[in-house]
């Protein structure tokens, strides 16, 4: 039916078909899926190495590339062996720092021992008894029982700082004193404020480490904890053990038997054995002085001896006393003799000082930083939901890196391609639909109009036919009429 029409005229005079003209033009920008913003921001290295859930809990090293490492002993003088010397010099310039926590009941001579250890009056000992008297009054139950519970001596954490210099070497010392520990009637959870203090110092360091700007980080972490054991001569109290359990994995724990001059040598030995057994049983980890390969025999022996002396039985005294043989020593004078602080035969004070300052201060700091703090940090980050990505722990290998780069690049390309393809396909589909619709509309419109016209045509043909018929009839009747007319004429 449509084919019958011949396209002779171009200009469509008919207004009804006009809307067919407005077919939209294809725009290059619309169709082009090339987009320079395509990035691989999500395609980081982690995507390349799928992780197993177990590896989230610890450091598991991935397979390492097989790399050759040359091993050589150098006979001449190259000079890199100077590095420890350079560190030596540098450490004097930087200075040293020790944060020492002291825990123990009142009256065990904490302040005296600190003063003796650092040979400095960090604590003013002359004023102490007065405050102790006041505290005792309170504890003796002058107040009614209900009030007593509220006014129990709470643990007060106080820090005393000082700087000590010897032969051009500076040490910044911060003594953190947990006052009032074990002084209450009910000491349940009384270690919590101390644990909180240790934790908050770790947190502070962690925050500083995570900061974007972190050129100077002050180390306020507790490097060692001196715990004063009451010289009962029997065994550790449950409170001692509970405290050890709470802190031994958070700081270098150094237990000392306070005021050991009230125990005889045999009593001390027995007491030490009991304490060591108790510590073993409770699986309490203490700081152990490390051994160095470069140490000579004498040093190694001394380190062994030091280790065997733990828990150190100590006495402290800052007063000078004269011995019968005419020496002036730090010590305590009794009618039966003089106990010398700095005499290895009299107490373990010298060993304690070796551990805390002379031999192992830096090792205490190393262990705090590399093990205790790291454990705390790992646990904390894990609990915060930070996932461990072990794929980052790998030796650099140029070939592997190249392969990785290629993978990253291919992932990027694939993403780009998929995106462009999608945009392209969408635009093509849209355009096709639009054209198909135009086509369909064109045909529909044409059909409608054609129908209308055909109907019109049909009606006219009918009318014409009728008219023709009536005309024929008219002409058939006309003779009569003519006759009639003729009649009239």
């Amino acid at each position: 039916m449509l084919a019958s029409g011949s396209p002779e005229e171009v200009a469509p005079s008919n207004t009804e078909t006009k809307e067919l003209e407005s077919t939209p033009k294809v725009k290059q920008e619309e169709l082009s899926p090339v987009n320079d913003e395509v990035s691989i921001s999500n395609g980081n290295g982690a995507d390349l190495h799928q992780e197993t859930p177990q590896s989230n809990e610890r450091q598991v090293l991935p397979d390492q590339p097989d790399l050759k490492v040359i091993q050589r002993k150098i006979t001449g003088y190259v000079g890199f062996a100077n590095l420890p010397k350079q560190w030596h010099r540098r450490s004097i310039r930087n200075g040293f720092n020790l944060n020492l926590l002291c825990v123990g009941q009142k009256g065990l001579g904490k302040s005296t021992l600190i003063n003796t250890l650092f040979n400095k009056d960090l604590y003013d000992l002359s004023e102490r008894p007065v405050t102790e008297m006041a505290d005792l009054k309170l504890e003796d139950g002058v107040n009614p029982p209900e009030q007593l519970e509220e006014e129990q001596p709470t643990i007060k954490i106080e820090t005393v700082s000082t700087e000590i210099e010897e032969n051009g070497v500076r040490l910044t010392l911060n003594v953190v004193d947990a006052q009032g520990f074990g002084d209450a009637i009910d000491n349940t959870d009384s270690w919590n404020p101390i644990v909180d203090e240790i934790n908050s110092r770790f947190d502070q360091y962690l925050d500083a480490e995570n900061k974007i700007e972190r050129t100077v980080i002050t180390d306020n972490r507790i490097h060692a904890c001196l715990y004063f054991i009451e010289p009962t001569g029997h065994c550790l109290s449950p409170l001692d053990i509970e405290f050890f359990r709470a802190v031994h994995e958070k700081c270098n724990l150094i237990p000392v038997i306070a005021k050991s001059d009230i125990l005889t040598d045999e009593e001390i030995e027995k007491f030490k054995v009991t304490i060591k057994d108790q510590l073993n049983e409770a699986e309490i980890k203490l700081f152990e002085p490390p051994k160095y390969l470069i140490d000579d025999e004498e040093t190694t022996n001394r380190s062994d001896k030091l280790h065997s002396k733990i828990p150190f039985a100590v006495v402290g005294s800052t007063s000078d006393v004269s011995t019968p043989d005419g020496r002036v020593v730090r010590g305590r004078a009794y009618p039966w003799g003089i106990i010398e602080v700095d005499n290895e035969a009299h107490s373990d004070f010298v060993y304690l000082r070796d551990l805390l300052v002379r031999q192992y201060l830096e090792e205490l700091r190393e262990r705090t930083s590399n093990i205790l703090y790291e454990n705390y940090r790992s646990e904390k980050l894990k609990n915060l939901g930070i996932k461990q990505d072990n794929s980052v722990f790998r030796e650099f290998d140029p070939d592997l890196r190249q392969k990785e780069e290629k993978q990253l690049h291919e992932a990027k390309l694939a993403k780009l391609e998929a995106e462009m393809k999608a945009v392209f396909q969408q635009k093509v589909n849209e355009k096709e639909k639009k054209l198909q619709k135009s086509e369909a509309e064109l045909f529909a419109r044409h059909k409608e109009m054609k129908d209308k016209l055909t109907k019109q045509l049909k009606a006219l043909e009918d009318k014409k036919h009728q008219l023709e018929m009536s005309l024929v009839n008219q002409s058939a009747n006309s003779p009569v009429q003519t006759k009639k007319k003729g009649f009239l004429r």
Binding site: L2, G5, S6, P7, P12, S13, T17, E21, T23, V26, L31, I40, Q59, L67, Q71, R72, I74, G76, V78, G79, F80, N82, L83, P84, Q86, W87, S91, F96, E165, E166, G168, L171, Y292, I294, V328, V329, D342, D354, V357, R358, E374, S378, L381, L384, V392, E395, F396, P398, E405, H409, L413, L435, L442, H446, L453, L460, K464, L467, S470, L471
Partner: protein, 384 residues
């Protein structure tokens, strides 16, 4: 006894540090950078007094590759019971092409990459073992032309100096006379200053009681920069019965360890004997921190300060081949788009043609209608 009693023992603390470092050992990553044939490999072997790397005769004879590569040599060296892990990073292919545009990119990418890798390791909850290949020093070998620095030297050094400790050296300096060398050094120093290239200088002791001998030594090192060096693995008799590292010419013996012949000893002092720790610490505190800051600042910090800021994804290195492939892909799609557009234009034309055909079809019918209407009208008139 009394004097010992009065001492707390703090003066022993530096010795503790000494012991710890001694037993832990150290790590030193040195990058050598410069065109081939400037004696980089020989220098490394001379510096460590052992043949760590054989001069690669194969590579010398092979046609020059188009790309700059990264080559890492790893060694554990022991001197006086102190063990040092030495990583030497070489960049074969640098500056060897006709067009060396962007040939520093591989070097820059490597330095950034190591910082990036360390940062990612440091951010993990569990990080006992870390692999550290951060570059502590970059030796940039300058060709002993006697004229000045090439644009490639300047551009490359500029970029390195913002990321690592840069130490420029005049290679094979025995080809320059003392006067030529002096003039060359002055010219290089002028360019370095004018271009604001930061080169590594030994830090001067800022403490209250600086060691005057060390200060003088540091001053001498700074004055001699850029160091003029020669390298030799051969040993010759110096005429006094000593066998020394040197280069033998008919006109004389050039001694490596002779301060009046070259600056080798000064450079060794800077790299190892006196300033090794300064190189390591400044890499950690300046360059690594600067990189970390730059990367994390872009990431936007987390609200919880105890959470480490997540580093954004590692960026891809600037490989020209990758760019080409990307462009090819884009071109492919552009071509596809063009082909489709052509198809749609044809389709649209077809629709227009069809419309014209249908229009004329309708017109034809309409003409018939009009004709009939006319006929009907005539007939009606006739009827009346």
């Amino acid at each position: 006894m009394t004097s010992d009693r009065a001492l707390v023992g703090i003066s022993n603390l530096p010795n503790q540090r000494y012991k710890i470092v001694s037993s832990n050992g150290g790590t030193f990553t040195l990058m050598v950078c410069g065109e081939s044939g400037l004696g980089k490999t020989t220098f490394i072997n001379t510096l460590f007094q052992t043949t760590l790397k054989h001069v690669d005769s194969q590579r010398r004879n092979q046609p020059i590759k188009k790309t700059v590569e990264i080559d890492v040599l790893r060694a554990v060296l022991e001197e006086k019971n102190f063990s040092l892990r030495v990583n030497v990073v070489d960049t074969p292919g640098f500056g060897d092409n006709v067009n060396n545009n962007k040939s520093w990119q591989t070097i820059i990418d490597f330095i950034d990459d190591q910082h990036d890798s360390y940062m990612r390791q440091e951010q993990q909850p569990f990080r006992t073992v870390k692999f550290d290949l951060r570059v502590h020093a970059v030796l940039y070998f300058i060709r002993p032309t006697g004229h000045g620095l090439k644009p490639l030297d300047i551009e490359t050094m500029k970029r390195i100096s913002s990321r690592a400790n840069l130490i420029p050296v005049i290679a094979k300096s025995d080809t320059l006379t003392a006067q030529e060398l002096q003039d060359f050094k002055i010219r290089i120093r002028q360019v370095i200053e004018a271009q604001e290239i930061r080169i590594f200088t030994p830090p001067l002791d800022d403490s209250s009681s600086p060691d005057p001998a060390l200060m003088e030594h540091a001053r001498q090192l700074i004055e001699s920069m850029p160091f003029a060096i020669i390298g030799s693995e051969e040993k010759y008799d110096n005429g006094q019965g000593q066998m020394i590292a040197a280069r033998k010419y008919p006109w004389g013996l050039v001694e490596v360890e002779n301060d009046s012949h070259c600056d080798f000893r000064k450079l060794r002092s800077l790299l190892l004997r006196t300033n090794l720790l300064d190189l390591i610490l400044s890499t950690q505190k300046l360059h690594y921190e600067a990189y970390r800051k730059l990367r994390l600042e872009g990431a936007g910090s987390t609200e919880d300060p105890s959470l480490p800021t997540r580093a954004p994804a590692r960026k891809l290195s600037h490989n020209p081949q990758f760019k080409e492939e990307e462009n090819a892909l884009k071109k492919y799609f552009t071509d596809q788009v063009k082909a489709e557009e052509q198809r749609f234009r044809q389709w649209e034309q077809n629709i227009v043609n069809e419309r014209i055909r249908l229009n004329s079809d309708l017109e034809e019918v309409q003409a018939k209608v009009k004709k009939l209407e006319e006929q009907v009208r005539t007939l009606q008139l006739r009827r009346h």
